[in-house]
């Protein structure tokens, strides 16, 4: 049985930026087999569909999962109201996560806004060989910067309004970075328009790039074909399921113009 349903107890909860919450839940079975880039599907009170949330971290020994989410609508709003000790019905671990290479490879990790959480696990893996470029609207929206720094990774903070760090988009920052630095692999998660820009830069520079996509989901396990994204290969365009074929795809596989 690859998938598990667990009633996970909330061990800690805090608001790390306005409207962004960081919770740790006890979910030993899922934690045991979780991998970078995977997600869980969370049941929210009164709603028919579960909400997919990426693993921002997992601790096999302690049996915990870390979830960082932004309040966007009814489901995440309800989630944000839970307290330590409350229980959450989750299924997981879901999805095909990031492909990790040798730790000595130079990885550039580019995250935008609430796309950052799944990337923390990558920074952990590559440590000092990772450079994390993260972009936010403004300084107060910035999250997870110390978590990233603690992995030993180099962090480059960008803000759209220049209120902190580099004044501009992550694509510009990546462009600048690649001029003077070696890079073996790029990982990205964030708004689609950003990922498309990152994917283009990766291609121009001939660097492997993995992107983590989002799509509205039904089952979350591959059965319903609701969550597809357009991909392409030599035979043409295909719809693949974000929940099992992804959420992580090779950037070159994604049909960005859809």
């Amino acid at each position: 049985m690859r998938y598990t349903q667990e009633t996970a107890k909330i061990m800690s909860k805090c608001e790390i930026a306005p409207g962004v919450f960081d919770i740790t839940v006890l979910s030993p079975v899922i934690a045991k087999s979780a991998r970078a880039g995977q997600f869980v599907n969370v049941l929210c009170n009164g709603l028919t569909l579960r909400r997919p949330i990426s693993l921002c971290g997992f601790n096999r020994e302690q049996g915990t999962l870390r979830l960082v989410f932004e309040v966007r609508g009814k489901g995440t709003d309800w989630l944000s109201g839970l307290k330590t000790g409350d229980r959450l019905d989750i299924i997981g671990p879901l999805g095909h996560g990031f492909t990790l290479y040798d730790k000595n490879k130079k990885a550039v990790i580019v995250g935008g806004g609430i796309g950052l959480p799944p990337l923390v696990v990558l920074a952990n893996h590559y440590g000092e060989n990772a450079t994390v470029i993260s972009g936010f609207r403004t300084s107060s929206a910035a999250i997870l910067q110390s978590d990233l720094a603690n992995t030993g990774a180099t962090t480059i903070l960008c803000t759209d309004d220049g209120s902190a760090g580099f004044h501009g988009f992550t694509t510009q920052a990546l462009d600048d970075y690649l001029i003077n630095n070696a890079c073996d692999v790029i990982y990205t998660c964030g708004p689609k328009i950003m990922m498309r820009g990152i994917a283009r830069l990766a291609q121009e520079n001939g660097i492997v790039c993995q992107v983590s996509l989002e799509e509205r989901m039904g089952c979350g396990v591959g059965a319903c074909l609701c969550c597809v994204c357009a991909t392409k290969d030599s035979k043409g365009k295909h719809f693949k399921r974000v929940c099992v074929n992804g959420p992580v795809f090779m950037a070159t596989e994604v049909e960005w113009n859809d």
């Binding site: 028919t48 569909l49 319903c224 719809f239």
Partner: protein
């Protein structure tokens, strides 16, 4: 101890709970939660003669106590269904229903012929899918076309044929009678009701296909009513579908007239929905001291 098995047009199901077409794939994903042999049966993803890519995303949106979907019959085509998926399913001791959809009567017939020699137990004629442009829902909304496609398919296959009805009609009773008179071995209902959601910020429909099919608990009272209406009109078995999320719902649907039931959207909410419903129904039937679960069917006492 109640005997939970039911017979559906000659095919014996372990219990009356079938996974609904399109919500359960070919079962392989859910077999990562529990053994498929627990189920009474599985109605596979709607299959067409040729591979279909389906509609562009987003394909699903949440609605109060329900969802709308516009998958649009993405499937690998009947040959791959038979060669790849049916084989995998058949080693799992489970009754398999092939849900087929066509653009023309000929396509339905061609598929029925292809399925004739297969291990498929029952053919479910999906004449009610609202997400394809040609054919699809159109077949299901007129008595004449329902009768025609049913007759033709029946002529091409010896497998039991179950006709799946759309609720988007003025009189479900008339459509049901047309299918029964044309030789359907069973009826399944309801498919989804056509609905729409709009993002008020962008003023765009949430679904890329603009409209989609409504399913989930929201439609349950409509499904119960339609099943009870159809049960009065036909004497062939009925499979009740629509919004069933608990064993109580399943019991209600059977009392309304269903010989078996299908569970769709509830699988998304709770991957163990089907097995919880089976266990709950069993406890209920035991507590009532029923010899057979079939004793529930059609026991509605109207006022």
């Amino acid at each position: 101890m109640t005997d939970m098995s039911v017979k559906l047009c000659g095919v014996k199901l372990k219990n009356p709970v079938i996974a609904a077409s399109g919500t359960y794939g070919y079962g392989l994903e859910y077999s990562e939660f529990y053994p498929l042999s627990r189920l009474g049966g599985i109605s596979c993803k709607g299959t067409t003669l040729h591979k279909r890519e389906g509609n562009p995303p987003p394909r699903i949106a949440e609605t109060p106590s329900g969802i709308i979907n516009s998958v649009g019959l993405q499937n690998p085509g009947v040959d791959e269904f038979l060669n790849v998926y049916l084989k995998k399913l058949k080693i799992q001791d489970i009754v398999v229903i092939a849900n087929i959809a066509g653009n023309t009567v000929e396509e339905y017939c061609a598929m029925a012929e292809r399925l004739q020699e297969s291990q498929v137990d029952i053919i479910e004629l999906n004449i009610s899918c609202p997400n394809v442009k040609l054919g699809g829902v159109n077949f299901g909304t007129s008595c004449d076309s329902v009768a025609q496609v049913t007759t033709e398919v029946k002529n091409r296959t010896k497998k039991p044929v179950m006709v799946k009805l759309t609720p988007n009609v003025t009189s479900i009773g008339d459509i049901a009678a047309a299918a029964a008179d044309a030789g359907a071995d069973a009826l399944s209902l309801i498919n989804t009701l056509t609905g729409m959601r709009i993002d008020i910020r962008t003023r765009r429909p949430i679904l890329r296909n603009n409209t989609g099919g409504l399913s989930g608990p929201a439609v349950f009272p409509i499904a119960v009513r339609m099943v009870s209406e159809v049960a009065k009109r036909v004497s062939i078995p009925i499979v009740g579908i629509g919004g069933i999320a608990s064993w109580e719902d399943a019991a209600e649907m059977m009392i309304a007239g269903a010989n078996a039931i299908q569970v769709g959207t509830a699988n998304f909410h709770d991957p163990f929905a089907c097995v919880k419903i089976i266990d709950g129904l069993k406890n209920f039937a035991d507590s009532l001291g029923l010899k057979s679960i079939t004793e529930l069917t059609g026991t509605l006492k109207e006022w």
